[in-house]
């Protein structure tokens, strides 16, 4: 599966890694919904680190659609929340 880290690029990940990543991802969502900024940052970094460790980076010029997308490492809880709001990533679209 191809995962994009916003602002960094794409990595290819084997499906076998997903159970572990899903746990972190669910944790991240819970922290975001609870408004736990510190926890969110910690988990986001842990998740991104794991994705970078386990994944193989794709060349910048490859045009592969991403199946999963992760916020940029410096994204704040509020930014991610707004990304997931109804207005979405590209306002007005």
């Amino acid at each position: 599966m191809i995962v994009r880290i916003m602002g960094e690029g794409q990595v290819r990940l084997a499906d076998s890694h997903f159970p572990e990543l899903d746990e972190l991802d669910d944790e991240l969502l819970a922290e975001m919904e609870a408004g736990d900024g510190a926890g969110f940052r910690r988990t986001l970094h842990a998740l991104l680190d794991r994705v970078r460790e386990l994944g193989t980076p794709l060349p910048d010029d490859s045009l592969e659609p991403s199946e999963l997308i992760l916020p940029a490492p410096d994204a704040t809880l509020e930014e991610v929340r707004s990304l997931l709001s109804d207005d979405g990533l590209i306002p007005g679209r």
Binding site: L21, D25, D26, L29, M32, L47, L84, G88, L89
Partner: protein, 268 residues
Amino acid sequence: MSGVMKRMGMIFRAKANKALDRAEDPRETLDYSYQKQLELLQKVRRGVADVATSRKRLELQLNQLQGQSAKLEDQGRKALALGREDLAREALSRRAALQQQVTDLETQHQTLQGEEEKLTLAAQRLQAKVDAFRTRKETIKATYTAAQAQTRIAESFSGISEEMSDVGVAIQRAEDKTAQLQARAGAIDELLASGALDDQSGLAKDDIQAELDRLSGGTDVELELQRMKAELAGGTSAQQQAIEGGDGAQQQGQAQGEGRQAPRFDKS
């Protein structure tokens, strides 16, 4: 789907699909994107050229300053030879000011050279990316065109097969109907013949009734024969009655023959 990365992926895909839906032809979008990249590359190249021009201008200024500096040094030497130390001092102090400018310009020159190298490298990288994108774009366009053609072929095939299957269904339906009718007619014949089904016309008879009729008919014939024999001995009027009775039996037989055919059409 619950986590952040899954949700974001879904939103991205939804947006991308919307954007694609809006685009009349994805090939045009790719070409537009390529055009934009070329424009960006052109800008970077223009930037490289601007920086290089500035660098050359600085080099010219440096040459001029160094020339003036050398000239002042020469003048100072000559002034000293002529015993004019004051003039020599003046020449050397002017040269020192020029030297300061030269040093400043040299620093600027170095900076510009660094910028120029960076920009040249960036332009080369961008060029490589644009080239790669062009190749990829052409591949995608070709794939898209092929996929479109395949879809069209598949559509026309499915159209044909749909029509064929319509014809097939119609034939099948006709065959089924015929077989059904034949089976039903056969079954009715058998049922009528066996007496399990009542003849609605009331004319057809089952085999038991037929046998009973035959037996009773036989008895009647015997009785009639006896009666006729008795009448023959008696006179002509009795002979006339016997002839009328025979005609009646013949008419009944004809009606029975028609009666076996009639219900088959009525029921099927």
